[in-house]
Amino acid sequence: MTHIQKRLLRERLAKYAMQGSGIIITGSLFFIVGTILYKGLPYLNWQMVSESPKGGFYIGKEGGILNAILGSLYLASLSTALATLIGIPIAIYLDVYAKSGSFLVRTCKLLFDVLFGIPSIVYGAIAFSIMVWLGIRASLLGGVITITLLTIPIVVRTIDELLKTIPIDLKHVTFSLGTTRWETARMMLRYIRPGIFTAILLAFGRAIGDVAGVLLTTGFSDNLPQYLDEPAATLPLAIFFQLSSPIPEVQGRAYASALVLTFIILFIVICTHILASKQKKHKI
């Protein structure tokens, strides 16, 4: 084999290796969803999603996981709403009010980036200790606060990235027309509106799927969640508990619950994708 043939062979082999890795990475998604679909679908029925657990649910008798579905939805909606209300003003401050590129702004953005990576178990442990210290028992409220703290960095960073995509001239033009910073900020928020929903959905997805944060703070309950100061069930935790049961019927329900969670996540992802493409369309 001549030298050039060897080099071209290497080129071909490398290309195969790269295509293979790409297929493994993309395939793993279908593989995970497929496995859960295959195992969970036989156990999924209307009773599962429309009833709360009855007596003997955890030894394989009647009931469903409505308590967990509702608990998760409440928890995620409340904490996402709070995180949005707190996160958007922070992002606005960093991009509109503070001097851009200053030390303060750069440090804050870096900090939120880093916070984004802190695992939820750390937040959960802290929140739990504080709750013990204050004498509050595990409750929906505790979970909401923990998950809010967890999702604020997501909202701040996503909104900040969006604000960065706004042409700087637009900002300068409005200022030169004599607007206050707050009026400019409102204009900018309108500009990135579809993107804000993307940020909200991202936070919601993270909030609804988190386990480690709610494990210690929210507790678990078979009743439908009604008050903020009562423990509430969450979907990921329900999956986790049911999976550790030795009874096959209950394990099957864990698969079905996992399937429900997968559907919720896929729904969120599809909405995000649609909104994101809308945002791109409006770009100047």
Partner: protein
């Protein structure tokens, strides 16, 4: 006073209050962690805690070595599996793939990022653990239930695919086209250009992406807890069960109130996680920010 200016003042004041509050939470977290773990640190020296492998809270011995090594094992396995795959796939997406393929694959990778940890755990229990326990371990002549650091590492590898791929693709697309053209015009094949030019230039960014992957893997709790076996021992082979730090916190918190120093020990575990991950994240973010500024 002007009504518009007043509104502006109010907006400025409330947004800065929220920012300060959010930053205060970080300080509170650090203070809480340090404060809570002081009793343990006063009772025993830091070196002893980190190098002792005996964990028996009833006797007052808190050795973190086996948990630290458990975490290191799963993280390293995940890194060794994920890094080459992600580097190769990102290069393919940036250098070879058509726009259409790229626009199809990247959203799918983002879907992978949106899947909650518990679903990865379910997948691990349903697929990875049986695969290791029933097929691969017997094939190699090893007796293992499949609940092992290897299973944890594989599940984590899949979990860190999205963060690594998305950052690596970003890093690779900042490499100037002129550099690649120069190499190609000298007669190098595309692969040679990639290994000798693109990868050299992209090295800091790729390392930063890998470090972000590590810190994600380091703190992952539930998915690993479900597949790792959770036996407090020092894992000696791929097929041994391990007990990573986050799993320790998740399994034992809430039931340790009566044993002295137990809660302090668990908070120390959380502090350890926080410090390591904070450090890793800070490092890689600073590298990535530098690169971004250079590219801009």
């Amino acid at each position: 006073m002007n009504w518009r200016l007043l509104k502006d003042k109010i907006a400025r004041f409330s947004s800065i209050t929220l920012l300060v509050l959010a930053l205060a939470v970080i300080v509170a977290i650090v203070a809480g962690l340090v404060g809570k773990s002081t009793p343990l640190l006063q009772a025993e020296s830091l070196v002893d805690i980190l190098s002792d492998s005996v964990w028996s809270p009833m006797k007052g011995r808190f050795g973190f070595l086996s948990f630290i090594l458990g975490t290191v094992w799963v993280t390293l396995i995940a890194l060794i599996v994920a890094t080459p795959l992600c580097v190769l796939a990102s290069i393919y997406l940036v250098e070879y793939a058509s726009d259409r393929l790229r626009n199809m694959v990247l959203p799918l990778v983002n879907v992978l990022a949106a899947i909650p940890p518990v679903l990865y755990g379910v997948w691990g229990v349903l697929f990875v653990v049986p695969l290791l326990g029933n097929y691969i371990a017997p094939f190699l002549g090893i007796d293992s239930s499949g609940f092992s650091v290897f299973a944890g590492g594989l599940v984590l590898a899949v979990m860190i695919f999205p963060i690594m791929v998305s950052i690596m693709v970003e890093v690779l697309s900042t490499i100037p086209k002129e550099l690649k053209d120069a190499s190609l015009s000298l007669g190098a094949t595309q692969w040679e250009t990639i290994t000798k030019v693109v990868l050299q230039k992209a090295k800091p960014g790729l390392i930063a992406a890998a470090v972000l992957g590590i810190s994600r893997a380091f703190g992952e709790t539930v998915a690993v807890l479900m597949v790792c076996g959770n036996i407090p021992q020092i894992p000696k082979s791929l097929f041994d069960a391990g007990y990573p730090l986050p799993a320790l916190i998740a399994n034992n918190f809430g039931e340790m109130m009566s044993i002295p120093l137990y809660d302090s020990a668990l908070m120390f575990a959380a502090l350890l996680l926080f410090v390591i991950i904070f450090g890793f994240n800070l490092l890689s973010r600073i590298i990535l920010n530098r690169l971004e500024e250079k590219a801009a």
